[in-house]
């Protein structure tokens, strides 16, 4: 109903008000406070120093920002996180694509079931999934013994599968795989089989059909999936924390460390803001790219 009267306008605020207020208080406000915190000094016992000191002066500075930009180790950690997230995204894409294609090409009856089967593991507890890899990659487990047995046979050193970058990566891919499958599937499902038939008619072989028709048309799904994998992967900390070695600290781990162990909250806030900026920039990029390339196949 267009053209609202006063009582309808009231209704609009009654309905959108409560969730709006809640999210402003418990999401927007904390975010702003975190931004503010990045400009403050760490407290004596950790946390934050008082905003207004004894002399009545407001204590704001950019010390923490300076520290981030001058000490290279943090930029390195950040770049390492980006690298891991990128690897995860690419690996997820290569694994998810065949799976999504299979589901999209299967008969209607099975599609919902197959989709459900992909998503169910996602709904199990995140930690359980990480823990499962602890078991699989554990030194006593079959896999490690097998691999190391082979290595020993050819005279090599035993390789620890657990507490390594390899473990972190495998688990990252495992945990994020469903996020790549879903948008890809949603896109591939809408592809018109007639296009491929026409191409085949014109002499294209299977690889050509895939590379020149299917893949380009699926790009919006690829970008959506990439965003859904890359952004969370960037901020992950539990996986390196549980499965990683001492060298596998990612930005998420450093943030956790700053907040709960070192308790240098202003610096932790700076790191968080850098992470947020990266995440938002990527989300915006994904949205922009998705809008541009969605002329071809899927819904706008």
């Amino acid at each position: 109903m267009a053209g609202m009267r006063a009582p309808e306008r009231l209704g609009k605020w009654l309905v959108s008000g409560p969730p709006l207020v809640y999210l402003v208080v418990f999401f927007a406000l904390p975010t702003l406070i975190m931004v503010l915190a990045s400009f403050r000094t760490p407290g004596e016992f950790g946390g934050l120093a008082p905003l207004v000191d004894e002399a009545g002066k407001v204590d704001l500075n950019v010390d923490s920002y300076v520290r981030f930009f001058t000490e290279p180790v943090y930029a390195e950690v950040f770049l390492k996180s980006v690298w891991y997230a990128l690897l995860t995204t690419v690996l997820c894409l290569t694994l998810a694509y065949p799976l999504a294609m299979l589901i999209a090409r299967s008969s209607k009856r099975y599609r919902d079931l197959l989709l459900l089967l992909v998503i169910l593991p996602f709904w199990s507890n995140f930690l359980i999934r990480v823990y499962a890899w602890m078991i699989i990659l554990g030194p006593q487990a079959a896999l490690a013994r097998g691999v190391n047995g082979v290595l020993a046979a050819v005279g090599g050193e035993p390789v620890p599968l657990l507490f390594s970058s390899f473990a972190v990566l495998v688990c990252l891919v495992y945990v994020h795989l469903p996020f790549m499958v879903l948008p890809l599937y949603a896109n591939l499902e809408k592809h018109d089989q007639a296009l491929l038939d026409a191409a085949q008619d014109l002499g294209a072989n299977a690889w050509q059909r895939f590379w020149r028709i299917t893949f380009p048309l699926s790009l919006p799904g690829v970008y959506a999936g990439a965003a859904l994998v890359f952004i969370p992967a960037l901020g992950i900390f539990a996986i390196p924390d549980i499965l990683g070695g001492p060298d596998d600290s990612l930005i998420g781990n450093v943030i956790k460390q700053q907040f709960l162990e070192t308790r240098d909250w202003p610096f932790g806030s700076v790191l968080s803001i850098v992470l947020t900026m990266a995440a938002l920039a990527l989300a915006a990029l994904a949205a922009w790219v998705g809008r541009r390339s969605s002329g071809a196949a899927s819904r706008a």
């Binding site: 109903m1 267009a2 053209g3 609202m4 009267r5 009582p7 309808e8």
Partner: protein, 361 residues
């Protein structure tokens, strides 16, 4: 004073004016139809009467009172929607009882009223069915019953028969006419189907591009269209245009290129030289192989270019001098002869002065 008065109502959507300064006066007990092609504004106007949309300008008065501040639920106006809009999670009884519930009717009175409403639309016994179990025609009747159960002052119908097949539509049309007579409520009906409008209505408002072209009884709309659009939209019509040569004694003569002077009845005198159109219905033209024995008021020769066999009649399209294509209708004889002329035949057409209708440009 009319029951429902629409005064200078305007509705715009961005740059597009859907309803452009429309004024109408609808009398109590009328079956009033808004007729026009898609996009002419008829549905928008209907929705504003219902309160589902708010005008940008003008007023709508019911019994003299401005409806402006009344939300849809407070208006004594009910709508039958094109998609029927039956609540899928309620039974037929639940649907019909809904307005009564909203009007805080005492529980004891609801059941008998629902039963009476079902009887009115001849669906007694269907009360416990669910909407998805009903056919299109049955859904239609439930929608009507739901709309009438609280005895609204005006019933609005938005192309209610559009989704039904031809035979069912005809049956429902007759039912609607009878229903309206029985309950005596004012109906405001929206349709793009001109045969439907002609059959059902007491009066028709022909609309085009947000404006009202003509408001009149069906026979006058058909026989005496006042604009080219109305003449063309309603039924088939030959439109012969040209400057007026002279007028007088209730007759106007129009110079039509190639055909010469065409004489047509007109109520008032028209100044010579002014442009005009003669509206001529195909069934009023006499079409024959040879020149008529008497002296007709208007005549012309031509060659048959197309013919359309329609069962009861055949429509002949005739090329005439001046580049006109005139349509003439001839009933097929009962003895089985269905075609009097073939394509390419030379024919004589004639018609009296009263057969045509003059439209000023």
């Amino acid at each position: 004073m009319a029951l429902l008065e629409i005064q200078g109502v305007i509705r715009r959507f961005g740059d597009f004016t859907a309803v452009d300064n429309v004024s109408l006066a609808i009398e109590a007990g009328e079956f009033f139809t808004l007729l026009g092609p898609s996009g002419c504004g008829k549905t928008t106007l209907l929705r504003m009467i219902a309160g589902l949309d708010v005008p940008d300008g003008g007023r709508i008065l019911l019994n003299g009172a401005d409806l402006a501040d009344l939300p849809p639920e407070s208006r004594p106006v009910r709508t039958v929607f094109q998609s029927y809009a039956l609540f899928p999670h309620m039974t037929v009884e639940g649907n019909i009882a809904f307005p009564l519930k909203m009007a805080k009717t005492p529980a004891a009175e609801i059941a008998p009223k629902v039963a009476a409403a079902l009887e009115d639309v001849r669906l007694s016994g269907f009360g416990t069915r669910s909407p998805h179990e009903l056919s299109g025609g049955q859904k239609q009747r439930v929608a009507i019953a739901r709309a009438l159960v609280t005895h609204p002052t005006v019933l609005l119908l938005d192309e209610p028969l559009a989704a039904l097949d031809a035979k069912l539509r005809e049956e429902m049309q007759i039912e609607l006419i009878n229903l309206q007579k029985e309950v005596g409520i004012t109906f405001v009906y929206v349709t793009h189907d001109q045969t439907e409008a002609l059959a059902l209505s007491h009066r028709i408002a022909v609309m085009n591009q947000g404006q009202v072209e003509q408001v009149d009884e069906p026979s006058k709309i058909y026989g005496f269209p006042t604009t080219r659009f109305v003449a063309d939209f309603i039924g088939h019509c030959n439109l012969l245009s040209g400057p007026v040569r002279d007028s007088g004694n209730g007759i106007v003569t129009v110079d039509v290129a190639g055909l010469g002077p065409v004489r047509v009845a007109a109520p008032s005198a028209i100044a010579a030289g002014r442009p005009g159109t003669v509206a001529l219905r195909p069934e009023k033209i006499r079409i024959e192989a040879t020149a008529p024995a008497d002296t007709p008021d208007n005549r012309c020769r031509g060659t048959v270019s197309d013919l359309l066999y329609m069962g009861d009649v055949t429509v002949y399209k005739v090329d005439t001098p001046g580049g006109h294509k005139i349509e003439a209708l001839r009933a097929n004889s009962a003895s089985g002869r269905t075609k009097f002329f073939e394509v390419g035949d030379s024919v004589e057409m004639s018609w009296p002065i009263a057969a045509g209708h003059f439209i000023e440009e």
